[in-house]
């Protein structure tokens, strides 16, 4: 799988770039929306949660801390969900290519993941800049953020790959996923802090595969601390296991995918 992805790296990169570039095709300032959109989102959260609804994160005193907390979880989650959802539709969307060209299937899932990751990179850079401008400090723990994001996106790519194959055969999966991901987001402490959960729910969080990623991001970005040592193996596991599982499923059904499309 990796060999094929490497062989098609230029195709993937070019398509991911053109995806980013043409996401806002037809608008006057086009590419700039890739920056303006997340920027607006970050600024709105900052304004709302620091001035209007001043919520404070437990243990961190700053006025902007909840906005930062929210962005630290929400922006990566959006990219992750994008990876899964668009990944799941990748084969169907690109059926014209798959039906006629001998391109390895996983290339199309990877292409979406790369585009989502690029967009995430822009968003997180903006978040860093806004944090500094609004008077926050970037702790050294920020250095760990790209690694965690990469693992999170790897996890998203893996899930996308798993569902992309299944979705070809049972197209309802795409619909179910949209709902499931929303539910999953609310089961993960992204828009709320985990301390508000009843204790039995807090205990259940460790069965949520997305929790280590979000918790690690919160610790690094909001708390300025390195992630829990125990979270690294969990993150690495999901980032490796799901693409592997996706690949095994793909290999099993590869011959039938192109017949069905």
């Amino acid at each position: 799988m990796i060999v094929n992805l490497w062989r098609y790296r230029r195709f993937i990169a070019r398509n991911a770039l053109s995806d980013i570039r043409h996401r806002y095709a037809g608008s006057a300032i086009g590419v700039a929306w890739n920056v303006l959109n997340p920027l607006a989102q970050i600024l709105i959260y900052s304004l709302v949660f620091s001035q209007i609804m001043a919520v404070r994160v437990h243990g961190v005193g700053s006025r902007t801390s909840f906005a930062l907390y929210l962005c630290a979880g929400l922006l990566p989650w959006a990219a992750f969900a994008d990876c899964v959802l668009r990944g799941a539709n990748a084969f169907i969307e690109n059926s014209t290519y798959l039906k006629k060209l001998p391109i390895p299937e996983q290339v199309f899932v990877a292409q979406n993941a790369v585009a989502a990751t690029l967009f995430l990179g822009i968003s997180m850079t903006l978040l860093g800049i806004v944090t500094v401008i609004t008077g926050g400090a970037l702790s050294p723990a920020w250095l760990g953020v790209p690694a965690v994001l990469a693992l999170f996106q790897g996890f998203g790519f893996g899930l996308g790959l798993i569902f992309s194959t299944l979705n070809v055969f049972l197209r309802d999966i795409g619909q179910v996923l949209t709902i499931a991901l929303q539910l999953w987001m609310w089961l993960t402490p992204i828009v709320y802090v985990e301390e508000i959960l009843p204790s039995q729910f807090q205990a259940a969080l460790r069965y949520n595969p997305a929790y280590p990623f979000i918790a690690a991001l919160h610790r690094m970005i909001v708390g300025g601390q390195w992630p829990d040592a125990g979270h690294w193996p969990a993150m690495a596991f999901w980032a490796c296991a799901t693409p592997a599982a996706g690949y095994l499923i793909l290999r099993r059904f590869r011959t039938e995918i192109r017949d069905v499309l």
């Binding site: 195709f11 070019r14 006629k100 060209l101 001998p102 590869r254």
Partner: protein, 442 residues
């Protein structure tokens, strides 16, 4: 036989058809113990060897499995069983423009597509001028392809593919691209590629192209190879299959000319042996339902000037259409005629004995007559369908309006190019008599 470039051994492809996605789930869950699919064999036991530099035609009615075979060879589909091997790089015109991204310019797309097909960038860079010149789309090459007309799009795609110099080409119905001049360029390019030793697998419904370009042909029907060999004979089998005429493949018999008597004492036409034999069996095609049946075509055959049965002629050549007519009632105004339609369904030419002021003898009830129409097919190369018919006058009208009998679904005839050297002798539907006079004294 020289080195084979494509070899296919006992290749089969099965599609599983499920009535609903749940049936598929059920099969998976039960590990195949419950079978809910219907198997559809698109290809069964195909064997094929294509040597380097050969041009092989692949023909068959829609759904015969041609595209499936091509897709397997270009690795866009996986076979169910059997092996295949393609030595060297393969480019398939199935993919014509599919790798093109609408937002990229023509030039960027050329590189992107070549990359997709695994051709090194410097190769393409070197050939870029030739590609652009061939496509002839001028300034548009630096515009996003979404602004292209569909003609320009295909021309660019075709130009790119025609200049990649792969070892094997798969061409699927791509020859009908662009206007006549571009088509000529395409044909010329194909001949050039063949001279360079490129192997070509050509799929077309234009039998003229198959007989003209291919050394060999293969006829697929219902996923099986039913005929293989010399392009002309395979094309003949194809028409036989299409018209379901059950017409035996007639081998060229020596044209011993004999005469058959006509009971009305007309000068008897010389009927070649092959034609006599063909007239003795039921005519090809089906009888039209709306004929009155006052007279009937009981035998029909086509021959060339040598007296062999024929279904093809070079443009400008003559074919003889033989009718054996049997009268039910007394017929005193028999009109024997024929219609020719091109593949777009345009009536190219229709003629009957009335048109030419010929009065045929009166037929008594049960009487028979043999009539031959010799038509010079000065028309553009291509496939023509025929409607041989017999009829009579309707009261008062000068035009023959009464249809006695007509043969439908007769296997078409094919007019082929006169020669592959030099320009086409004319463009357009028909070759009109043209005389040229000139002088330098002006």
């Amino acid at each position: 036989m020289s080195e084979s470039v494509i070899s296919v051994r006992d290749l089969s492809k099965r599609f599983k058809l499920y009535r609903s996605p749940w049936d598929r789930m059920l099969e998976w869950i039960t590990g195949g113990r419950v079978m809910r699919h219907e198997a559809f064999w698109a290809l069964q036991g195909i064997n094929l060897e294509v040597a380097r530099g050969e041009c092989v035609g692949l023909i068959g009615v829609n759904g015969a499995g041609k595209s499936t075979l091509l897709k397997i060879l270009s690795r866009a589909l996986y076979p169910t069983s059997g092996q295949f091997d393609v030595r060297g790089r393969l480019v398939s015109l199935l993919e014509l423009g599919t790798g093109f991204h609408p937002e990229l310019t023509g030039r960027q797309n050329i590189f992107q597509s070549a990359r997709l097909l695994g051709f090194p960038e410097q190769d393409v860079r070197a050939r870029l001028p030739a590609i652009l010149q061939f496509a002839g789309i001028g300034e548009f090459v630096d515009q996003p392809v979404k602004h292209y007309s569909s003609g320009m799009f295909v021309r660019l795609a075709f130009s790119l593919f025609a200049h990649l110099d792969p070892d094997v080409y798969i061409v699927d119905e791509a020859l009908s691209v662009g206007d006549v001049f571009f088509q000529q360029k395409c044909f010329e390019r194909f001949r050039e590629l063949r001279r360079q030793g490129c192997t070509i697998l050509l799929v077309s419904h234009e039998m003229e192209a198959i007989t003209h370009l291919c050394d060999r042909a293969i006829l697929l029907h219902g996923g099986k190879c039913v005929s293989e060999g010399d392009a002309r004979s395979v094309v003949h089998d194809y028409f036989a299959l299409m018209g379901q005429s059950g017409e035996p493949a007639v081998t060229q018999s020596p044209a011993r000319e004999t005469s058959v008597g006509d009971r009305h004492g007309q000068p008897p036409p010389l009927v070649p042996v092959a034609v006599q034999r063909a007239l003795a069996s039921a005519p090809p095609g089906t009888h039209a339902e709306k004929g009155t049946g006052q007279s009937e075509i009981v035998g029909f055959a086509i021959s060339d000037s040598e007296g062999s049965l024929a279904w093809t002629t070079p443009s400008g050549g003559t074919l003889h259409f033989w009718y054996l007519v049997q009268a039910r009632d007394r017929i005193d105004d028999l009109n024997v005629g024929i219609h020719f339609y091109d593949r777009r369904g345009i009536l190219v030419f229709a003629v009957g004995t009335f048109n030419r002021g010929i009065t045929l003898p009166v037929l008594a009830p049960g009487g028979r007559a043999l009539c031959v129409l010799s038509v010079t097919l000065a028309v553009q190369p291509g496939e023509y369908t025929l409607l041989p018919q017999v009829g009579g006058l309707t009261g008062g009208s000068p035009e023959p309006g009464l249809l006695h009998d007509r043969l439908e679904s007769v296997p078409p005839i094919v007019v082929i190019r006169r020669s592959s050297i030099g320009p086409a002798p004319f463009y357009g539907l028909v070759d009109l008599p043209t005389h040229v006079a000139w002088t330098e004294d002006v």
